[in-house]
């Protein structure tokens, strides 16, 4: 499980350091944490199919919960995974109109990723090809690949776990989702160029 020696600290490690420093009294380090992890959290939220405003609220709520519970979080180093779990749960809770509280284990699986027509119209030709292939993957693989793409290699396993994927889904081995993406892209002459 050791990252390659040349690899710099992953996003999760940097986030963990910033959060640990915040807990130790360097309050301004929280801004650094927000800047570091917001792209991952945005994609984790949007990959659940929530509307943009819902996703923004979910991310904001997750951070406010983090601040409130900062001292009771057992593993500050795992703060990125903690935030991903809370964001995913919040998106579903908000999307359901807060009918009832439900636990992490009850969070439904993400739907297939959608891009609205306006977004699709601004893709480059190559991005269109990639999108076509990503769309053929299972919804779970689409969600996993979308979210880890915004993190670093040392973070993949922890993020997969916080998204509810089985241990060993990815990192340090490729796992089935990355393998499928590789295979489907590899068979497309339009991608290979």
């Amino acid at each position: 499980m050791t990252p390659t020696p040349t690899a710099p600290d992953g996003l999760g490690t940097l986030a963990g350091k910033a959060f640990a420093a915040y807990r130790a009294g360097e309050r301004e380090r929280l801004s650094e944490l927000v800047d570091l992890v917001t792209p991952v959290l945005w994609n984790a939220a949007r990959s659940q199919g929530g509307a943009p405003a819902t996703c923004e609220d979910a991310i904001q709520t997750a951070f406010l919960q983090l601040v409130d519970r900062a001292d009771s979080i057992n593993e500050p180093a795992a703060v990125l995974g903690w935030l991903v779990v809370v964001v995913k749960r919040e998106v579903w809770r908000l999307a359901r109109g807060a009918r009832r509280e439900f636990g992490v284990e009850e969070v439904p699986e993400a739907p297939a990723q959608q891009l609205d027509p306006e977004a699709q119209s601004i893709l480059s030709e190559r991005q269109r090809v990639l999108w076509k292939h990503v769309s053929t993957l299972s919804p779970r693989c689409q969600e996993l690949l979308r979210v880890i793409a915004f993190a670093d290699r040392p973070d993949y396993a922890a993020i997969a776990e916080s998204l509810g994927m089985p241990v060993g889904s990815i990192g340090p081995t490729r796992g089935r989702c990355l393998q499928k993406l590789r295979t489907t892209l590899g068979t497309d002459p339009g991608w290979a160029v």
Binding site: E28, L30, S31, V34, D35, T38, P39, W42, N43, R46, P52, E56, I59, Q60, F63, L64, V67, D68, L115, A119, Q120, I122, L123, S124, R126, Q127, L130, W131, V134, L145, R146, I148, A149, F150, R153, Y156, I170, G171, P172, T173, R174, G175, R176, L178, Q179, L181, R182, T183, L185
Partner: protein, 168 residues
Amino acid sequence: MTSHTDAIDARDIANLHHVRDLFGHADPVPSDLAERIKFAITVHALHAEVAELMDSALLTTRGADAKVEPTPTDSVTFTAASVSLMVSSGPADSDDTDDADDRVRVDGWVTTPGAQIEAVTTEGSSTVISDANGRFVLDDLPHGPVHFVVTDPGNADMRPVITPTIQI
């Protein structure tokens, strides 16, 4: 042939970079999301009251849909239940430094004499106490986003008041 039990290699990393570019391009993070989260955290942590922007003729706040940097502020008033705050900005005193154009002086007035006014900018924060008439000056601030936090050291019951972010 490759297998899912192989280690992640450079091709996989490249594929993930393409996935990142795809979603980053098609569904980008709202440009001011991180700033709005930080503001919400500050308000929450201070148990603060958010002051309302009253006079917005000459400035633009950082709204949710702002695609461009707002125009610079001239003079603006904020009001909360316990306090009102008026600020105006201009170039910093030119005799201090040669590059005074790069710095901003904020002249302000607050309804509470002896209030503590903290200006939070990209460089950190500067703090000043208002005089017996409620006046204060914050010189040498950087251009860019700023918000103010007003507290009353003489009145522990007063909730801190935080203003929306403006551009100076």
